[in-house]
Symmetry: C2
Subunit: 280 residues, 2 copies
């Protein structure tokens, strides 16, 4: 453990706000250096000269202790804070520095460089929509609230434990989509037809599948040695739900190796949402 | 509406995967040009030469129709796909192009440039933790499941409608923190002491406050003209919960103008989470 720390390269994510942008970008970049061990540190809400100087002190202290130059990625809107951070020991890359100039040149207009609250409430109406969507998804989780499907943007269907609940919440929270979810269980599995409550909202239904082996593994964690988590039961449920999706022409896909982010992006891609174009 | 579209600058976010990184970064950058009207288009899962060529066709078609050069931001891992996209009409900025070279130079090691699944399941154990945390937060939403507080990482407390539920889900989904939430209501408001179920887990409790006016506005949408949404009731509840947080030394803050991302970042900042450093 100690050796690992000594050999790892420190990375500092410095932001004047939540750090969401710089941490998201940083994760994508570092992922491309799979042979290197990184150790990440987040310095958030660095929005005054004093805090920027404190950040430099923290970075230099670690650099000196380890004898290795840290990588410093930042999203600092104010040039005077960037100037302070640039004095830290390490390779310093500010995201605004790199992108703002070429965009300014293209559009012939200077960036306002106002202190960013990109992840703030911002457009209050859109923010309220997201919160309303989260509340809607909670009210219609796990097959409850079917009387409210007229308001749904998306209804996820599938066997129990195929990732419907977290995906519903993600679609609601990040894309403001009212997303219900409906587990197909018991006698509904016997017929290759959509349950009545879904039938009249068929155009909003998306099916999620996983492999029977994946389902068994997920269910075993929850209820080991049960009928529910047995391989034959998982095989039966997946076979029946897939037959149903095919019979009813419900779009569906295998999410066995997908994260909730990936399942959500796939659904967004299948929808035709205003002012966005998608590749088929 | 039509005029607005004609004058707006098209922006394409092109990604070989979910688009989360490029859209997050793009939002931060465009936010800095508040006087410009942008129109964003997302082209996700562009992972073959054929799809990259299709993306170029889509971009050029819009550029020609509008007679304006689009801004093209991309996260394409494969250099051959970037080469195709670079032929599109517009200003082309690839995130990997701009950052990978300086990082390679610093660490003396070439990027692997494997097709990124940064937002994939990745580290399966961490992914399971996030899903478990979401399930935990659902089980302990709105004061239920207090018997499970021993497992909590964070317990949010506050008056009804102060943003506890969506923040709990965000902390669970994005940071893998088991986050319960507890509404302080009815007779619990009368005493400036933590309810018994919170008392024994006091070190995990964070208080959320909003201004009485903000609370009234939120509650009015839910139950207009009720005692629940009246200003005196909102004033009373905020005064009492604040007195309680002070009396019990529970850390708390005003979230009236904060998004769930900002509330969550603030809480993360107050916690001391492994391998991350924070500014005080």
């Amino acid at each position: 453990m100690q050796d690992k720390k000594i050999n790892s390269r420190p990375v500092f994510f410095v932001s004047n706000s939540t750090g969401i942008t710089v941490e998201t970008l940083g994760r994508s970049l570092l992922y491309q250096f799979s042979s290197i061990q990184f150790e990440s540190h987040s310095l958030r809400f660095v929005d005054t000269a004093e805090k920027a100087e404190k950040a430099v002190t923290i970075i230099n202290k670690l650099a000196n202790e380890r004898g290795i130059r840290p990588i410093i990625l930042s999203t600092l809107v104010k040039p005077e804070l960037r100037a302070i951070l640039a004095t830290a020991e390490g390779v310093y890359l500010d995201i605004f520095d790199m992108f703002i100039a070429p965009i300014e040149k293209e559009i012939g207009c200077k960036a306002s460089l106002g202190l960013g609250r990109v992840h703030g409430i911002g457009d209050d109406e859109y923010y309220s929509e997201r919160i309303d969507a989260v509340n809607y998804s909670l009210k219609t989780d796990d097959g409850i609230g079917a009387g409210e499907y007229a308001q749904a943007d998306v209804i996820l269907a599938g066997a129990s434990r195929t990732g419907k609940t977290p995906t519903s919440l993600y679609l609601a929270m990040h894309y403001g989509l009212k997303t219900a979810n409906y587990p197909i269980v018991d006698e509904e599995l016997e017929s290759p037809l959509l349950p009545a409550s879904l039938k009249s909202h068929k155009e909003k239904v998306f099916g999620l599948l996983v492999t029977p082996e994946r389902l068994q593994s997920i269910r075993t964690k929850r209820r080991p040695d049960s009928q529910y988590s047995s391989l034959p039961q998982c095989q039966y449920e997946i076979r029946q739900t897939e037959a149903l999706f095919q019979e009813e022409n419900v779009p569906y896909f295998d999410v066995s190796s997908m994260s909730i982010e990936e399942i959500s992006s796939n659904i967004i891609n299948m929808l035709n949402i205003s002012s966005r174009t998608f590749l088929p």
